[in-house]
Symmetry: C2
Subunit: 395 residues, 2 copies
């Protein structure tokens, strides 16, 4: 028999994937137009035109061996230089090529960073509810313990009192994710300022640096003209994990990066450990063609207006019906309070109306559901009758 | 400070990379044409034309979201079906789509397979010297102990007596690699037959199945009309790790697969654990565009004749000068016995003549050097004078 732990991970049912599969089945029964699948977070907006153009130009003009050969383990130097230039121009980041390690996407950015940082099985990594459930898997893979910070359901920022209590001498790192999956909220400058003060104080108390891992796959999906904050400016000891899955709609190509800025504690050593962790898990290098594609598309984005339109349509529509919705400032998720305490029961009732929405228990936030709006806007409109029937059943 | 273990892995000098870097520096001093770099195993033969055609056709005819979206974690179903058909037609493998898990290349195939199989820190994984040194890193990442089988320097097959002694109740798996890096040799049907008999007997003795992990990135680089052997036909309990890095010259694109045939012990459970291990390490899915590219290029190969020509040129040339060479039957490496017992000293002397060859100590085979011939044939010809000077210094 294989590893029990890996077998369990491989066989674990995912609420999201199960809902998605159910939706596919139901579509065959009641017609695709009568199933309202808000379960998954798969970008529906096409990649910007520069992606196709970049691919075509690269394969037309370069030698095969140059296009598809190995790059350095950390990524092609020209790509990392371009990335540093872009980050310096955009965020005044003060970084260079040597601060970047190109990865096979957001998940790899996290597993590599965590493995680089975790030293002992007593190490603790704090996650802030609501949070992406795969964090748990990645923290365990790195050999650390997960500590869950309860959600701040008033503002969906970070409860600093709870954070202060959660930090122990074993705290190694904290993962934050803004714009947030699943809450669709964005941390404010005030939140980062206060968090930084707390972490600086607690690092001194416990006698070692606490790393902030800023997981930013939704960085540019932010609305109402809110500024994008460069987190190391608030807390120096930050490592950024990024992915182009959402900003360039390239989730299947597995391309992203880890940024270890010089201001992070033991930055050079951490960067070296990142290289070691990537090596240990067999990443070798990030996919070469798409390293060059993101270089050519630096600063370009998929059309975020489409998500913004969906956001307004869904938020206003549901609010009018009487749903209690968390105001969505980023990402492409609407977080809605369940009209009954058990969000699973609520989701089951929704499912009977072919409305597929995800109870947030697995995100560490019971009593809420996640409604993903990276969907066809027509589906949102068609779904309103069912959403209305659903809320009226609680009247 | 980060993880000491990952820091060490990230900062470890690699003999091969150091030689390669030295060659780049020397080229600036003495001219590129006077440096004979046989250090690395980076394919120099272009990808077959179908790769470029496939990329162009896919991006021209499909919607961006379909080209670049997530696939199932195990890989796109159509790709796995195509792969199963190909393996059934070519090797009468009797496999289906459900036996394949698409990976980010050979290294990922190995790290995922090892993590899926290893249950306890007492588990042992046997490697057969000479072997690819990253196996050690991957085995440790999975949490197992490495056991090194000494090289059979007479035939470069597998010493069955040594294998019998190496197997203990803790033996979980054995990694074999044929065609072999670094020896350039190919295991015979006789070797597999005898190995299978031994493993079957020992599995019964120790009361659990011993998995054979067949690492096959060089599968199709095989000469003199030797047959490609489908290893599960010899030993049912085999898991195949494959990569398109060499066969399609796509090392930078990170695309390969794991095949868990139904005949392997607990095949369904192992496959599930493979899915779990991929998930734990953050692989998510293999790069989507290149999954579709390998489907369109199924059965196609880079021009292997170029390697074959290099092989004959180098082998005959060095043999004539008096070098003791292992006859190369596969891959693109010539394995040469050092004229003095210390291959490091020999390599250092070669380096003074700008001949960059890799001492095989790190491959578990002291006294030998690896000469990689995935190089420009003109460089081989130009290098002969230096090789002659070198061997004559031992006269």
């Amino acid at each position: 028999m294989p590893s029990k732990e890996m077998y369990a991970l491989g066989s674990q049912a995912s609420v999201i994937r199960d809902l998605f599969a159910y939706g596919q089945e139901q579509a065959a029964v009641v017609g695709r137009e009568n199933v309202f699948d808000f379960s998954i977070g798969n970008p529906t907006v096409p990649a910007p035109a520069c992606v196709k153009e970049a691919i075509e130009e690269i394969v037309a003009t370069r030698q095969s061996v140059d296009v598809h050969g190995y790059t350095a383990a950390a990524g092609d130097l020209a790509v990392r230089r371009g990335l540093a230039d872009y980050m310096n121009q955009t965020y005044d980041a003060g970084v260079s090529a040597d601060n970047f390690y190109m990865t096979c996407g957001a998940a790899a950015s996290l597993t590599v960073t965590l493995k680089a940082l975790v030293e002992s099985p007593e190490d603790e990594v704090i996650v802030v509810a609501p949070f992406f459930p795969e964090y748990t898997v990645f923290i365990h893979n790195a050999g650390a313990k997960e500590v869950v910070l309860p959600p701040d359901t008033e503002h969906f920022q970070i409860s600093l009192e709870a954070m202060e209590q959660a930090i122990t001498p074993h705290t190694r790192a904290i993962i934050v994710n803004s714009p947030n999956n699943p809450a669709g909220t964005v941390y404010s400058a005030d939140t980062y300022t206060k968090l930084a003060a707390l972490l600086t104080k607690k690092s001194a108390d416990i006698g070692h640096s606490i790393y902030l891992i800023s997981d930013e796959p939704y960085r540019e999906i932010i609305y109402d003209g809110l500024p994008i904050l460069y987190v190391p400016k608030f807390y120096a000891n930050t490592i950024i994990c990024y992915s182009y899955s959402k900003s360039l709609s390239l989730p299947g190509e597995r391309i992203g990066y880890i940024l270890v800025p010089d201001c992070a504690a033991d930055a050079k050593a951490v960067y070296t450990a990142v290289c070691g962790a990537g090596r240990a898990m067999g990443f070798v290098c990030a996919p070469h063609l798409f390293q060059d594609v993101v270089l050519k598309c630096m600063g370009k984005l998929s059309d975020m207006n489409i998500y913004d339109e969906n956001r307004k349509l869904l938020y206003n529509g549901l609010k009018e019906m009487g749903y209690e919705c968390v105001y969505p400032s980023g990402a492409f998720y609407l977080f809605v309070k369940s009209p009954e305490p058990d969000a699973n029961a609520f989701s089951e009732k929704a499912k009977k109306l072919n409305l597929l929405i995800v109870p947030a228990d697995s995100f560490g936030c019971p009593g809420y559901v996640r409604i993903s709006y990276c969907v066809d806007p027509d589906m949102i409109r068609r779904s309103f009758a069912a959403f209305k029937t659903l809320i009226e059943s609680y009247a």
